[in-house]
């Protein structure tokens, strides 16, 4: 799951996969702006067939946060 997520994040944000860790902050470490985050959330929704409202997106600062969020939705 983490590996797949790293790849997805790297693809969406235009960074190298090995730059992405569980603790990477989208905005501070990976340079994502608000438009990038929407790209990412759309890709996540598609990949994991889940709906992510924007309020929830605001709580997800790091790759790890997304993993926890998806886990709570029953996706592992």
């Amino acid at each position: 799951m983490l590996e797949k997520m790293k790849e997805l994040v790297a693809n969406q944000l235009g960074v190298e996969t090995d730059e992405v860790t569980e603790n990477s902050s989208f905005q501070n470490d990976l340079g994502a702006d608000s438009l990038d985050l929407f790209e990412l959330v759309m890709a996540l929704e598609e990949e994991y067939s889940v709906e992510i409202p924007s309020e929830d997106l605001e709580e997800m600062k790091t790759v790890g946060d997304v993993l926890i969020y998806l886990k709570e939705k029953g996706i592992e």
Binding site: D33, S34, L35, F38, M42, P53, S54, E55
Partner: protein, 316 residues
């Protein structure tokens, strides 16, 4: 001219006046709507009761639809979103973010919701959440801007969504209108041209600054901290850029622009204030009534869209 937008909004011409902070008040919005286009009241950072008052003032001036632009980063956005429902406003555009959380409330109240978007992904998401149309705004526009141009953004969003698309950014006359329609837009939104309208309450200095602007006077500040703003260059933008290049912090730069739009629009300080205007400012040379502006644009656009004008340069 009929498009899905004129039908959706119940207006004669597919033209929308942007919801510019401080400028888009009842007087201007009502004049634009009276002229057959759609006037907007700009909610900007105004408290909810101020917005309510503007809505009521506009209604006294026109029976035609007037919309409200809700700036989602405003500390008053929640209250403003309720005022819209309470005052029976039927058309809302939103800026600076994602209006998902208000969508259900507005749709239930029969409000047509038109988010301003700066990317394909956001446009698709808004469509999914029930938006009636989107405004695709390129970085030619004044004020807060994205990175893509109207030329590139509009056709990509047109291809990505089924709902009608309104083009914004860089449109100031019939040629721009026609070009936007060639890209697939079904309406245009204009700001700068209406700032200098006779009915605009904007300070005379501000209007003159736009009317005298050259093409190269358009400047962008704030790129370094990710909140770029387009305005006309002056003492403020010069100083801002100098500080920005020297690596000043976001907080320090904010001090330079605090209240500076108001200083320019209301008090007429066009040297140290922020004279927000789009790149098209250089094209705008006369102050006209909203009716004159809209009629002129429509007749020019109609001529261009109906004739073989563009074939003038032979390509065979």
């Amino acid at each position: 001219m009929k498009t899905r937008i004129t039908e959706l909004l119940g207006i004669k011409y597919p033209v929308i006046q942007g919801g510019m902070a401080w400028v888009a008040e009842a007087n201007l919005a009502a004049a634009v709507s009276e002229a057959g286009a759609l006037g907007l009241i700009g909610g900007a950072n105004a408290p909810a009761e101020v917005v309510r008052n503007e809505i009521r003032r506009a209604k006294l001036r026109t029976d035609k639809p007037v919309g409200v632009n809700v700036m989602l980063l405003s500390p008053h956005a929640d209250e403003v979103s309720d005022v819209i429902v309470e005052e029976g406003v039927k058309i809302v555009t939103t800026g600076a973010g994602n209006p998902e959380k208000y969508m259900n409330k507005w749709k239930r109240a029969g409000v047509k919701v038109i988010p301003v978007v700066a990317s394909v992904a956001l446009a698709k998401r808004m469509e999914r959440y029930g938006a009636d149309a989107v405004v695709a705004e390129g970085m030619e526009s004044g004020g807060h801007i994205g990175e893509q141009t109207t030329m590139t953004l509009v056709p990509q969003i047109v291809d990505a969504v089924e709902i009608p698309v309104i083009a914004a950014g860089g449109i100031g006359d019939g040629r721009g209108f026609a070009a936007a329609f060639m890209l697939g837009a079904e309406a245009v939104q204009m700001g700068t041209r209406f700032v200098v309208a006779k009915e605009s309450i904007c300070h005379e200095n501000y209007k003159q600054r736009i009317l005298n602007a050259k093409d190269i006077d358009s400047a962008v500040t704030g790129r370094s901290h990710g909140h770029p703003i387009r305005s006309l260059r002056n003492q403020m933008t010069k100083e801002y850029r100098k500080k920005e290049e020297a690596g000043a912090s976001f907080e320090e730069l904010e001090l330079l622009t605090l209240g500076s739009l108001r200083n320019a629009v209301v008090d007429g300080d066009v040297k140290n204030g922020t004279v927000m205007a789009g790149q098209i400012a250089g094209l705008i040379k006369k102050e006209q009534t909203c009716n004159e502006i809209i009629e002129e644009i429509m007749s020019e656009a109609n001529r261009l869209l109906k004739t073989d004008y563009w074939k003038g340069s032979s390509y065979e």
